[in-house]
Amino acid sequence: MRFILRRLGFYLIAFWASITLNFLLPRFMPGDPVSRMFARSQDRMQPEQIEALRKLLGVDDRPLWEQYADYLHNIFTGQMGVSISRFPTPVTEVIASQIGWTLLLGGTALVIAAVVGNLLGILAAWRRGGAIDSALPPLLVFIGSFPYFWLAMGALYLFGVVLNWFPIRHAFTDGLEPAFTWEFIGDVGAHLVLPALTIVLVSIGGWMLGMRNTMIATNSEDYITMAEAKGLRPSRIMLRYAARNAMLPSVTSFGMGLGFVVGGALLTEVVFAYPGVGYQLLNAVQGLDYPLMQGLFLTITAAVLLANFLVDILYVRLDPRVRSN
């Protein structure tokens, strides 16, 4: 319990840091980006909306601490202002309509990469020097060296443009009504293949090597020798004895991996014009839509922190050593 509370405190501090960063950035940056934004979109807005945005982004004569208190209050009551590129939609609404796509893309890719990568790592370490162990790691490290977005471009070009197997942009076919029908789900699945594939390809190597290296250490433990001496089936020793004990670092990287997936998904989403938060974040940057940018950054951060917290809770269940002290 103490462990969980400590972690919770840590995540709250991290979240506070990102809010404060959000607060400070527009106020202390040179070049006054906020004025640029207003100059661009002033004629479309109501005076009171301009006033609210000015306060949110710090074009404001009040003392700093007062602005800060106001800012915190607004964040925790969910008032993140209105989006400028999609005027007059509130930022929260824009984000809500898009976060699902990122969760779908990132979640699918992360789960596939983690499961397959860990299994390959287990097999590689178990038959050390075998085919999987000698051929796959260098290959995967090499694939992992390519930039996310470049593999995405390659996949788009090869499978989308040249072979025309999969759709190359957006999350579903234009004009198709989102509904729980097989047609729509199949369509979403087809649009998901290429973006998810690129994320899996890039991230799978890290999972595999991490698992392999821990497994190698676990394989030399005495209880493995003992299990062999007892004459247990090799598959049972591999999965129940060695892999089970080597899993813990992978669980931690799963939480960390989420951060990378959100980042990787950002670039992949941009290449495939996939309507998730990453694609929206870039659009917000290009449209000088600072309220939306800040809202998206906070949402992404909150999601990553929450996921890490859940992983911590899981960790406590998995590792009795954490519980005892």
């Binding site: 470049w150 290296n213 250490a217 941009v270 951060t301």
Partner: protein
């Protein structure tokens, strides 16, 4: 990064009597390691290309000409872009900015990592708690969105790109270096130095730091890889300085000019392959450093492993 964290326990042998000796065998180990040699050869080629770029392809590589979207030919080995620029010249010139930013970011973030890691480990207590907290917060904040936000608010330019990449990149190295420094901090020779009244700075940089040289090197390589990749990502999103020629900007323009949709694969392939080759070469050197310093990962097959794989 994770592998570097996982593989530390190998290198903690006592080095008090002869601090130089392990270093020499470390260099020897690297020079006889196939991975390290391959990696260093690739890096050598790229650094040579970057230095010789103005001589090989004189003139401004991004000058717009009428020879648009030509396929690779004898005259333009890698074809031309939609704006008529020679892709080979762009790629070779691009290596200058990419390697420069990658190396600068790598050295700067490793340097900060060393300072933070050593200070944490040496002073301990409150300073360690505070520094570790900051490090962990930076580690946890999603890197690329943070990059995008920072780059959006700062004025565009090469300096911004470097600054932003260092801000998001130092934390990983600080964490790795701190844990290694902690294990050296608890050694007797450090205690002896403290008792004999040496200054804190001297103990940190002359006693502790030389004993973690291989980890520092691994961290540096990882940071350079990060720098090159992240710069490319940032520039691909159009958040770098789009007027400079670099691999990331080449890809940005390739995407912008619709090279994918018009089938001009030769425009976007070379820059991506170069990034991958450099990152792979650095990763190879990094793995070699791990192998040389961590006996468990060396390719010596213990009898036990042989028996098991033979029995199946």
């Amino acid at each position: 990064m994770t592998t570097a964290i996982l593989q530390q326990p190998g290198k903690t042998a006592d080095k008090t009597p002869a601090a130089r000796k392990p270093n020499r065998s470390f260099v020897h180990g690297l020079l006889t390691n196939k991975k390290a040699l391959t990696g260093m050869a690739v890096m050598f080629v790229f650094i040579a290309l970057a230095l010789l770029a103005p001589a090989l392809f004189p003139g401004d590589p991004s000058r717009i000409t009428a020879m648009a979207s030509l396929e690779p030919s004898a005259e333009h080995w890698l074809g031309t872009t939609a704006k008529g620029q020679d892709v080979l010249a762009l790629t070779v010139h691009g290596s200058r900015s990419s390697l420069f930013v990658g190396l600068t970011v790598g050295f700067a973030s490793t340097f900060i990592g060393i300072l933070v890691g050593l200070a944490s480990a040496y002073f301990g207590k409150f300073i360690d708690e505070a520094l570790s907290l900051v490090t962990n917060v930076f580690l946890l904040l999603p890197g690329l969105p943070l990059l995008v936000i920072l780059a959006a608010f700062l004025p565009p330019g090469l300096g911004t790109v470097i600054l932003v990449l260092v801000i998001t990149g130092w934390a990983g190295s600080a964490r790795v270096l701190r844990s290694q420094a902690l294990s050296i901090r608890s050694k007797d020779f450090v205690a002896a130095a403290v008792v004999s009244g040496e200054r804190a700075g001297r103990i940190m940089f002359r006693e502790i730091l030389p004993n973690m040289a291989s980890i520092v090197m691994g961290t540096l390589l990882a940071c350079v890889i990060y720098g090159i990749g992240a710069q490319a990502g940032l520039e691909f999103l159009g958040l770098g300085d789009v007027s400079t020629v670099s691999w990331g900007n080449n890809l940005f323009w390739a995407g912008n000019e619709g090279a994918l949709l018009t089938g001009s694969w030769w425009v976007f392939v070379p820059s991506g392959v170069c990034i991958a080759l450099v990152a792979f070469a650095l990763a190879l050197i990094n793995y070699a450093v791990d192998e040389v310093t961590n006996p468990r990962l060396r390719k010596i097959k213990t009898p036990k492993v042989n028996e098991r794989s033979a029995s199946k």
